[in-house]
Symmetry: C2
Subunit: 194 residues, 2 copies
Amino acid sequence: MNNTIKDIISASIQTKQQILNDEAFIQKMQTVVDVIADAFKQGNKVLFCGNGGSAADAQHLAAEFSGRFYKDRKALPAEALHCNTSYLTAVANDYSFDVVYARLIDGLGMNGDVLIGLSTSGNSGNIVKAFEKAREKGVITVGFTGATGGKMKDVSDYLFNVPSTDTPRIQESHILIGHIICQLVEEKLFPGPR
Amino acid sequence: MNNTIKDIISASIQTKQQILNDEAFIQKMQTVVDVIADAFKQGNKVLFCGNGGSAADAQHLAAEFSGRFYKDRKALPAEALHCNTSYLTAVANDYSFDVVYARLIDGLGMNGDVLIGLSTSGNSGNIVKAFEKAREKGVITVGFTGATGGKMKDVSDYLFNVPSTDTPRIQESHILIGHIICQLVEEKLFPGPR
Ligand SMILES: O=P(O)(O)OC[C@@H](O)[C@H]1O[C@H](O)[C@@H](O)[C@@H](O)[C@@H]1O
Ligand SMILES: O=P(O)(O)OC[C@@H](O)[C@H]1O[C@H](O)[C@@H](O)[C@@H](O)[C@@H]1O
């Protein structure tokens, strides 16, 4: 068991090390920080969606904006799309689970908003549909996926395709990338000491 | 911005590297895997609690057990204590936010259950109170904290005090440790290929 544990930790480190060595990936983080900071400045909001562990990660990252990250500052408009479980069960039951996020984008999404979708495979149907709807509505799409990008590759304005095909390792890098973006957006919008 | 991003990734890697080098920490993961697998085998359940990003992480890890991790197998009894938001708002409103988790442990906790509390400071009042109640009821307590362990140190049967004092870096290691435990518990209870 000891060796399995060490192998998992090493794989988690290795995935992050690959990101660290990838200048284009890091450059894209800077670009997305600017995109999100500009959206907030213009009065737009940032929405997150995912399924399973990635729903939890979506909620985690939304709370860093709407709650706080490092700084005691005003709330930023951010939400994870699965959080209204009454809505989620209603629409999955009455329509289809595939449209739960697309329908919310149709109802809530405004031109200039940002939608961040987290899917390790890049193939979760409800996220792909939400991204398609987002593009119709002028909502900027940011995909957090695994190495291939899956179907989300073609509907993402910006794609963070973590260099791994192993679900938990991908998620561990998603939360790191999300933390980095939250910190830098917070620093841009609220300069000065913590 | 480029250097800040690289520094954050390096710090995240560094924290995990320290865990990888800490034999006692890894040994404790093995012990907790055995504790949780035994609890499930005996018909007990595993409960998670946290606040903010750590509530999301609690929910993420609970879903790995109740949903699935790598394997197509039966559901395991696990839940995150903040998920019933009607309960949460009622008890916070009528009693106090400090008792939201302790009250659920009082209502749901059974001798032999396991409570995993995630708090980067180790000082969140509702988690400390839940751990105290857990101990009264024979519920095994597992703390996921930052370096000091905070107040949770004294009420945790097992403590994973991640060697960092920086909230996001601690959370990034919590989810890794949780993933490792989920994988190994799943392998113990459901041997055979994925
Ligand atoms: O391909 P994804 O969109 O990441 O979807 C995977 C999720 O449905 C969940 O699958 C399993 O239940 C687990 O691996 C979860 O961690 C994962 O989020
Ligand atoms: O000390 P903790 O129990 O980890 O509590 C911290 C939380 O209340 C949250 O605080 C801020 O909102 C952010 O740092 C969150 O990520 C964190 O979970």
